[in-house]
């Protein structure tokens, strides 16, 4: 048996990440390696962003005994953890309750979409004068990227300014990957245009380099270098087959793509897995244009589309990450920006409700098989253990090795703490 030295072991390990070896082969090779372990993977975050606000009582916090004015039309079902029940339309997730923690006591006071979204991403209500950076951007700034890929990516796009880098500057904005469920999916501007190959592009760039000589005479602020650096970063990404490979969802087996579900969200979760595998630190996944904002016809929408889609994709993600040994190093957070009213409205829907809502957290050592916090008999108000968003943010930062009490100086000079005075939650890990 050949002795595997550490270097070739790592090479083997990284080959498997890009799919050149099957997972089975990689396992076999790793088993044959000596006892030294590979360097521990850095933790990445996948944010399943249920924008619009998922209804707590119709999903993770059922109240079958509540009055008919409030209770879900759906029944709860048992999960594989004693005492935990969730909605019947999440059967695949129900079989994996030992893998995640359900928080039923999220709470805040903001009922407006944009303001609540900002609150979820930054721990603060939006201010007209300070552009507070979202968590993805903070992580991008603090941790950078191990390779040519951007460190924060949103699928299909960022949903609004609440996801942006604010005063950290646009270089820390999440990169929008596009819709991976599109036929012939590709990332915007990542390939050279038709008729232009790299040889031609390289010629263009050398002519550009000459023409830019004139500007260098007057450039005192180093902007030339900055821009040239970006051209280099962009071309490095565009020229890096392994980095671009991370986006090549078409290389996934059809069966796996089916398992995740052929929807924007489903393929988005699969793409997210590929991206964190390749070292991307923060990936946000949404449904794209459709939102969980069910002011009308909530039951048919949830039953026929939203819940099965979530169930399939989220459970597939947990399974897939688990099988690849990536669950330990991937923190998954599922939230909306608020919950929905316990009282069903006149259009058979539910309206915005921040007083209590649910979130689900998994991976990266999260203690699964638990429910934290509870709501009252109609999932209207917190009963035990309210959980604040800043504390959730602080927990994430801590897990990633970022000082959650660090302060940035904002664009108006006011100091801003990363997690807005949040403290890490003990019950999570």
């Amino acid at each position: 048996m050949e002795r595997f030295d550490r270097r070739s072991f790592i090479k083997v390990g990284s080959l498997s990440l890009f799919g050149y070896l099957s997972f089975g082969d990689a396992l076999a090779l790793m088993a044959a390696a000596p006892a030294q372990s590979a360097p521990k993977r850095q933790v990445s975050v996948i944010h399943l962003w249920l924008s619009g606000g998922i209804s707590q009582i119709d999903s993770f916090d059922p109240k079958p005994d509540a009055d008919v004015k409030y209770r879900s039309q759906f029944k709860p079902i048992a999960t594989n953890v004693d005492g935990i029940q969730i909605c019947e339309h999440l059967p695949m997730l129900a079989k994996m309750a030992d893998k995640y923690c359900v928080i039923r006591s999220m709470t805040h006071k903001i009922a407006d979409h944009a303001q609540a979204m900002t609150y979820i991403m930054t721990g603060r209500e939006p201010l007209p004068t300070i552009q507070v950076p979202a968590i993805a951007s903070v992580i991008s700034k603090e941790l950078g990227s191990p390779n040519e890929l951007p460190s924060a990516i949103s699928i299909p796009t960022t949903t609004g300014p609440w996801e942006h880098a604010g005063f950290l500057g646009p270089r820390n904005n999440p990169f929008s990957a596009g819709n991976p469920n599109a036929e012939k999916y590709k990332v915007q501007d990542m390939e050279l245009p038709m008729g232009v190959e790299w040889a031609r592009m390289d010629r263009r760039r050398s002519l550009l380099n000459l023409v830019d000589d004139n500007f260098r005479r007057i450039d005192r602020s180093g902007i030339s270098e900055s821009m040239d650096a970006y051209y280099k970063t962009a071309t490095d990404l565009m020229k890096s087959e392994p980095a671009k490979k991370a986006f090549k969802i078409e290389e996934e087996p059809e069966k796996l793509r089916d398992r995740y579900g052929r929807t924007g969200f489903g393929q988005g979760c699969l793409l997210a897995r590929r991206l964190v595998e390749s070292g991307v630190r923060f990936v946000t996944v949404t449904r794209g244009l459709t939102m969980w904002d069910h002011h009308a016809s909530i039951f048919s929408l949830l039953k026929d589309d939203y819940l099965p889609d979530l169930d399939r994709s989220f459970s597939a993600l947990l399974e897939d990450l688990g099988q690849r040994g990536l669950l330990e190093s991937t923190l998954i957070i599922m939230t909306g920006e608020f919950g929905r009213t316990p009282e069903i409205n006149a259009m058979a829907g539910r309206d915005h409700w921040p007083s209590v809502f649910s979130a689900v957290v998994a991976g990266a050592g999260v203690r699964g098989g638990q429910v934290w916090g509870s709501s009252d008999e109609r999932a209207g108000f917190v009963k035990d253990n309210p959980v604040q968003i800043p504390d959730l943010l602080a927990s994430v930062y801590k897990k990633l090795g970022i000082d959650y009490q660090k302060e940035y100086v904002s664009n108006i000079g006011r100091p801003i703490k990363l997690a807005a005075n949040g403290r890490p939650l003990d019950f999570l890990f």
Binding site: G169, Q188, D189, L192, G195, R204, T233, E407, I412
Partner: protein, 715 residues
């Protein structure tokens, strides 16, 4: 028994105010705590205090500080029987665990003052003792000659009884740029390198700034005589001479032409316009060109866009409403409506968004409430950031929470409601606004001024508008003038432009004052102001630095190079390539500068068109998606290969040689001629090759020109 103790204490204590009464809590202890950094916003002065001990931020409320020091936590911070063991002395000298470390040593002036105070019984000042009214620093402005030179600042406090005191030892000094000047605890300053900065001086909630410049040598007889076109040059060049910085040369006609076109109308000059200008021998051709450009409709479009950015047009209203507001602004600029009238119309607006476009001014949050409106009005109309003082007194500036809520009280009646087809801003019946902490009902009060009375049916905003636009308002004119200046000159005299405060002094206050006064005198005319700035030599300076001004990025010794606005950039690309951009909802040929909202456009968003959700300035910094879009994106690629574009036309023109095409493209995009090397490299893939190679070679050249910094920047 207790009575006996009291009597004994009284006998032993001596005179009523204690054995060593000379140490005052208000005038000595509080300033010393601020000076030692105890009351900073990142320590005990923060909203929650630190380690359970909370002081008022920078000592603005001595009563609270007295409570905290002598009474809270069972008064454990003071030990009257064993004063040296008081926590208030043990902690800052690090004789016991202290998160803030050592702030001063035993036996120092600070230590002794605090000790004396505790020994004297830790009293508060007697009722009616004078309080600080103002703080000043001398010198207010100084130019230091030679690195290593030293000066001493002194700080004088004026109290409510008229008395003055030299408080130089007791105030907190901090330098804004510690690489230029360092400042010691007694106000000694030392010059470290040529440059400029300000020293902030703070105590008891007051703050002032001393402006310091450092030069290596004063301007000597070899300092050139620089022509001055108008008062702008007077003020700019006077300062430059004081700093011994020589301004750059004047721009060439080519540089001037391109720059002025882009800054004034957001377009490149056409070939005909260029030819016209270059072939003119009129010595006043620059002034005449400026006059012409100011009369072009595109001038109004540039300012409509800038003002739409400022007032966040389009953010929370329908595209139709946004277009109406943009059009209204554009018309106002075309008419050169006096800016004071413009502002008044916005401030007193109401009605539906579409039929009353001025009402959009208030739609900056989805729920209209006095506090966010106050912040918005203050920042956009006055350039003053009140945000911090909403919850606590402002850490950098003199505004208190009372100031904030007094200002907010002007807007208690403004509300929005959803009309049949549009959102409507209206005035509801008066609702009282309570101070969030004291719960006292607030009366509308202007900043640094009086309470404004109004009847229940009055629109008190009218009085606010009158105060804002009054000639003596210190902020209104300066704010607008500063922004206009920044548009043309690349950097505000006050920077950031919406942060006017004592501790952020203008780099050239005489210039700012002169511009503001001229603006007011000429009926708040934007056009007059623009004309003055554009005709100055300062504006027309080259961007090529010389040895003396290479490091100067504040004093306009060279033109500040800046990237074109997203709209200008896209319009310029379309113009050079001869292929207009298409905006959904707008007719073909529409330019980016006239598209106020809606019509999302990847290029514009990527290059920094403002989403206008917060008040912010455009970010011109480069970013990944920009680079990728330029390298590989549709925008440029489709335009350079388009049928009927400029390139196709030129290539098909039998009268144009290859060299002539190269020259034409350089002139069109960069308003300059190619160097020999550039010409050679551009023609290399073309010479002697077939038609396809020729086409590709010129596409590559056009791509290069549109990607070049000379193109993307104004310089």
């Amino acid at each position: 028994m207790n009575l006996l103790v009291v009597l004994m204490a009284a006998l032993l204590a001596g005179p009523q105010d204690g054995p060593k009464a000379k140490v005052s809590f208000v005038k000595d202890v509080v300033p010393i705590l601020t000076k030692s950094g105890c009351a900073n916003s990142n320590c005990h002065g923060s909203i929650r205090g630190q380690g359970g001990f909370k002081l008022s931020l920078f000592g603005y409320e001595p009563e609270l500080d007295y409570e905290a020091i002598t009474k809270s936590d069972n008064g454990r911070r003071i030990d009257r029987t064993n004063p040296q063991k008081s926590l208030i002395l043990m902690k800052p000298t690090y004789q016991t665990q202290h998160g803030g470390g050592e702030r001063f040593k035993i036996g120092t002036f600070e230590y002794n003052a605090l000790l004396d105070w505790v020994r004297s019984g830790a009293p508060f000042d007697t009722a009616g003792s004078p309080r600080i009214r103002s703080l000043s620093v001398t010198p207010e402005q100084v130019t230091m000659t030679g690195v290593g030179s030293i000066r001493k600042l002194s700080a004088i406090a004026t109290y409510s009884d008229g008395s003055k005191e030299d408080v130089s030892r007791k105030v907190q000094y901090s330098t804004q740029d510690e690489t230029v000047v360092e400042v010691g605890p007694q106000g000694d300053i030392k010059a470290l390198r040529p440059g400029e900065t300000a020293i902030m001086v703070r105590t008891l909630g007051k703050a002032v700034a001393a402006r310091i410049a450092v030069v290596e040598r004063p301007a000597g007889s070899d300092y050139p005589s620089v022509p001055r076109n108008n008062y702008v040059d007077e003020h700019v060049f006077t300062k430059l001479r004081r700093l011994n910085i020589v301004p750059s040369d004047l721009t060439s006609d080519q540089e001037f032409l391109r720059r002025t076109y882009l800054d004034v109308i957001g377009l490149l000059p056409t070939a005909e316009e260029s030819l016209d200008f270059f072939s003119s021998t009129d010595p006043n051709r620059r002034a005449k060109l400026i006059d012409q450009l100011l009369e072009r409709p595109e001038y109004a479009e540039v300012w409509a866009t800038r003002l739409s950015d400022l007032f966040r047009v389009g953010q929370l209203v329908s595209p139709k409403a946004a277009r109406e507001t943009y059009n209204w602004i554009r018309q106002s600029v075309r008419d050169d409506k006096p800016y004071n009238r413009f502002a008044t119309e916005l401030l007193t607006s109401s009605g539906g968004m579409v039929s009353n476009p001025t009402a959009e001014f208030y739609m900056i949050t989805s729920k209209l409430e006095p506090a966010p409106i106050a912040t918005n009005v203050s920042q956009t109309m006055l350039g003053v950031r009140l945000e911090c003082s909403r919850c606590h007194n402002h850490p950098f500036e003199k505004w208190t929470q009372d100031d904030f809520w007094g200002f907010a009280a002007f807007f208690t009646r403004v509300k929005e409601k959803l009309g049949a087809t549009q959102v409507v801003v209206s005035l509801k019946d008066n609702v009282e606004l309570q101070h969030p902490v004291t719960k006292k009902v607030l009366q509308p009060k202007v900043l640094d001024g009086d309470v404004v009375t109004a009847g229940p049916d009055d629109d008190v905003r009218e009085k606010l508008a009158a105060w804002i636009t009054a000639e003596r308002n210190p902020w209104f004119a300066r704010n607008l003038v500063n922004r206009v200046w920044k548009h043309y000159m690349g950097r505000g005299i006050v920077e950031p432009v919406d942060d006017f405060r004592v501790t952020n002094p203008p780099s050239n206050p005489e210039l700012l004052d002169a511009l503001a006064a001229d603006f007011v005198k000429h009926n708040y005319s934007l056009k007059h102001l623009s004309r003055k700035i554009l005709n100055s030599r300062t504006y027309q300076l080259s961007s090529v630095p010389n040895d003396s001004n290479r490091q100067d990025n504040r004093n306009y010794s060279t033109y500040v190079v800046r990237r074109l606005m997203a709209e200008t950039l896209l319009d310029a690309i379309s113009q050079v390539a001869g292929v207009p951009e298409m905006y959904p909802g707008y007719k073909p040929g529409t330019r980016a500068m006239t598209v106020p909202s809606g019509a999302p456009n990847y290029f514009l968003a990527t290059f920094g068109r403002l989403p206008r959700d917060t008040i912010c300035e455009r970010d011109d910094q480069p970013a990944m998606p920009q680079a990728m879009h330029l390298i590989a994106g549709e925008t440029i690629q489709s335009k350079i290969t388009a049928k009927n574009g400029t390139l196709e036309r030129l290539l098909g023109d039998p009268y144009m040689t290859d060299e002539a095409i190269v020259r034409r493209l350089f002139m069109s995009a960069l308003v300059r001629t190619p160097t020999e090397k550039e010409m050679a490299l551009a023609l290399e893939p073309i010479k002697g090759k077939g038609a396809e190679a020729r086409k590709q070679g010129f596409e590559d050249l056009l791509w290069t020109l549109l990607n070049s910094k000379d193109f993307m920047f104004n310089h």
